[in-house]
């Protein structure tokens, strides 16, 4: 297993490098620069600005500088927030986004998995249909609509009641400010987890070993908890990989709607401002997170399912 782990890391690193390279050259080879504002800067100042940000160096030099900087954890200066560098902005935003993301993930697992099991054990009854329909609704309604609806209900309509929740802002992570964004971020996960758990649980309950366990007189609860659940959880673990990517894009929307200072919001602001280094930094960070998460998922996989042995890389 350790050799498998090493092999995966060895694949992950060049992947990340390829992403960095593509990002860098895409950014630098396109017409228009960060200083092409509506009001053009005088030529002398432009020369100085370009020198300040090393944009007058040859391209390969800039590329190498950037790579070396990355190795030192330096994502370069932000082109728009003049007094900040990208590393500083990310260091501010990342904890906020991660806190929200993990809270949402946790909430989704706590609600989604039991609901999926609940639906699966009552397959094709009314209980099942209600849960499944709710899950479909959760998948179909995008979270930028859901966010607005939540604001409308809890921020506007219930303004004068005890259920009032702040419609936006972060307030240094005050608890009431977190409820709506986390819930909004968690909803699509809950829906996916319900569907995945339900599907795999139904399959697991039909398996021969579950029938055997029941035939030998094991109580139903034990059969479910000890035998069926184990294999039913494998697809759920697999989902955690893509879930990271989900979480990152979800945070863009949720942080924009609720005005939370996380990396998703910085990314959107950076994209709107053509702040190349900021956009690039967040993209690279996200790619690294996704790669790391996929690796973690593979490891959890091997712990859950004894049939999965990593003698050779999977195709």
């Amino acid at each position: 297993m350790w050799s498998y782990f090493a092999k995966r890391v060895a694949i992950g690193v060049p992947t990340l490098w390829a992403i960095i390279t593509v990002c860098f050259f895409l950014m630098r080879l396109t017409p228009g620069g960060p200083f092409d504002a509506e009001a053009p800067v005088p030529a002398d100042i432009l020369v100085n600005l370009r020198a300040r940000y090393h944009l007058d160096d040859p391209l390969w030099r800039q590329y190498l500088d950037y790579l070396v900087g990355l190795l030192h954890g330096d994502f370069g200066p932000s082109f728009k927030y003049r007094d900040f560098n990208v590393t500083g902005l990310i260091a501010q935003g990342l904890p906020v986004s991660l806190q929200n993301g993990f809270s949402a993930l946790l909430l989704a697992i706590v609600i989604g998995v039991p609901l999926g099991i609940f639906a699966a054990l009552a397959q094709n009854t009314r209980r099942d249909y209600i849960v499944s329909a709710a899950a479909m609704t959760g998948i179909v309604i995008p979270n930028f609509v859901m966010g607005q609806v939540l604001i409308l209900v809890f921020g506007v309509w219930l303004k004068d009641s005890v259920f009032h929740l702040p419609a936006g802002g972060w307030d240094d992570g005050a608890f009431p400010n977190r409820i709506l964004p986390v819930f909004c971020l968690a909803l699509p996960y809950i829906a996916y987890l319900v569907r995945i758990t339900r599907g795999s649980m139904i399959e697991a309950m039909r398996a021969n070993y579950v029938r055997t366990a029941r035939a030998k007189g094991l109580p139903f609860r034990l059969v479910v908890m000890r035998h069926a659940l184990n294999s039913a959880l494998i697809p759920v673990v697999t989902f955690l990989g893509p879930a990271t990517a989900f979480l990152l894009t979800g945070s863009m929307v949720v942080e924009t709607i609720f005005q939370i200072p996380g990396i998703g919001r910085y990314f959107v602001q950076g994209a709107l401002n053509r702040d190349y280094t900021l956009v690039m930094g967040v993209t690279i960070l996200s790619a690294a997170l996704i790669i790391a998460m996929n690796l973690l998922v593979d490891i959890i996989y091997s712990l859950l399912d004894p049939r999965v042995r990593y003698n050779e890389a999977r195709s």
């Binding site: 992947t15 930028f144 709107l272 956009v279």
Partner: protein
């Protein structure tokens, strides 16, 4: 639709189109689809929505970018003036805008999916059929792309090359083909060693000809299911971009942008948010039901 009567004009037409006598897989699937109530209703709703959003803007008294100067503040529905859903905050007819936005959203959905379909089927079929080094190379590339935060890349492309409509669906299509390629490759692998492929090869068909004439038609069933599930994803991605202000530009509009506009009016005019959001949600619902229905209809295991 029971057995086809060959003497009827319909039967003749089918025969002329090269359709096989009796019930083909597709006719079978079609009947099963129609028997699935949710999928059938979804199909009708989608066709209606499509027709209405194409024809609607020509029929309505107001166009999507026309400002009604007598009602520049958001106005509740007024039938006498021809504002059936009222107007938005700058006095444009909300129904006309919703339909026009629907047209753009659906168009992006269909065009981007076509791009994804073309790339995905080509890569998948070639990788699966040719095999060996080519397969290794193409699939490694697909694996690599899976690790890339693709939404970020679409945004980067939109930022770099300006927000134009053509780039938008090309960019979305270029990132949505990965799963399609994997599915098609898997299907191709199971087809590759079938007798009819051997026969085609024995009678001198070139690799290209075999892929186009024999492989592609046989993977279409699975591909169609995936297409109906990709279109809503693309619509969602487009509205996500437009919502963030990185998609379609004014005065053009799409559902995502209307939802964004409506969000600004949330407190005084929830109507401007709820109407486009409802249109989009219903569309996404229908595509998902249709996709599920198609999957059941084309699934040979259930037969």
């Amino acid at each position: 639709m029971t057995g086809v009567n060959l003497s009827s004009p319909h039967g003749e037409a089918l025969k002329a189109a090269g359709e096989v006598d009796g019930r083909s897989l597709w006719q079978d699937a079609w009947r099963r689809l129609l028997a699935n109530r949710a999928a059938f209703i979804s199909l009708i709703v989608l066709v209606t929505l499509g027709v209405v959003s194409v024809v609607g803007p020509y029929v309505l008294p107001w166009t999507y970018d026309q400002i009604d100067w007598d009602h520049v503040e958001a106005m509740p529905p007024n039938f006498a003036m021809g504002h059936y859903f009222g107007t938005d905050s700058v006095g444009r007819d909300l129904l006309a805008r919703t339909l026009f936005g629907g047209r753009i959203s659906l168009m992006v959905g269909i065009l981007a999916t076509t791009v994804a379909l073309t790339i995905g089927v080509t890569v998948g079929a070639v990788a699966g059929f040719v095999g060996g080094k080519v397969d290794q190379l193409l699939m490694r590339f697909v694996d690599l792309m899976y690790a890339v935060p693709l939404t970020f890349f679409v945004i980067i492309l939109m930022v770099l090359f300006g927000r134009n409509f053509i780039l938008m669906f090309l960019a979305i299509g270029a990132v949505e083909w990965l799963t399609m390629a994997r599915i098609v490759r898997g299907q191709t692998l199971t087809l590759r060693n079938k007798e009819f492929i051997d026969a085609a090869r024995a009678s001198g068909g070139s690799t290209t000809a075999i892929i186009i004439r024999h492989i592609v038609p046989n993977v279409l069933g699975v591909v169609m299911v995936y297409v109906t599930l990709t279109i809503p994803q693309v619509i969602l991605l487009e509205s996500f971009l437009s919502f963030l202000g990185l998609g379609i530009q004014e005065p053009m509009t799409s559902w995502g942008m209307l939802i964004n506009d409506g969000a600004a009016e949330l407190e005084i005019n929830p109507r401007t948010l709820i109407i486009p959001a409802a249109f989009m949600t219903v569309t996404l619902f229908c595509f998902n039901f249709l996709g599920d229905g198609l999957r059941d209809a084309l699934d040979p295991k259930d037969r």
